[in-house]
Symmetry: C2
Subunit: 158 residues, 2 copies
Amino acid sequence: MEQTFTEEELTLPTCKYEYLDHTADVQLHAWGDSLQEAFEQCGLAMFGYMTELPTVEIQQRSEIKATGHDMESLLFHFLDELLFLFSCEPFLICNKLVITEFITDGEELSITCSCYGEEFTLGKHPQGTEVKAITYSAMQIVNEPKNKQFEVYVIIDI
Amino acid sequence: MEQTFTEEELTLPTCKYEYLDHTADVQLHAWGDSLQEAFEQCGLAMFGYMTELPTVEIQQRSEIKATGHDMESLLFHFLDELLFLFSCEPFLICNKLVITEFITDGEELSITCSCYGEEFTLGKHPQGTEVKAITYSAMQIVNEPKNKQFEVYVIIDI
């Protein structure tokens, strides 16, 4: 049933509003046969959010190093270094990560990782979602060799 | 400089990750010559996030009522009623809101509002972002008649 309206009713209000502070995040969950593999997979999960990884070819390799005073900060800095690879030259999108050194005892924990992929190129690589930052929020690292359980959970700001 | 890689280096890892718990929100900021108008504008801001309001024509009118025990809960329930208009029949997208009753003193505060717009129709109305819920998070209501300042800030989950 169509209703009828007066002219005054049909007059639209002027716009007196705006949108502020858009925030969003997504939780990455990665696992592997070792903690090392879970870390590698978590890095890939992050790159997989930025574009469709099957469109990426291996054309370059970069090496990154990350350190931390505990496992959480090691994971944080590892992901942060990977994000940096993408944010600055060589603007690398990785489809393969190989941790070649994984030192998780002693005072300073550290990771060395070979990062394979290619320069992000619009047209070749669909633009996914921009990753703004890694967070410590609700970070979880499951490291139980007895149960062969190796998992990480990380929330990233997008 | 093109690099060369061994076959092993070119072998891609299997996928051992997934994406969980995507959350997002946006803050609405609305104002007006009265608190009543700021409330109306805040409702429009919410509808403006769901589609492009210039595509909406006035073809229907619905009346909603909302109550609250204070101004914050009044605003919350007002927006929640508007969201409900859209979520269930008549699936109304509003481009004009006129608060006809605005009782802000006494034990129970209440709003009666005429909501003008039309049924949301894919094809006619571009699909914006789904609004999942209104929140009380960081809600602010500025009600200063002396300075003629009437503003509201509301964060909605999207």
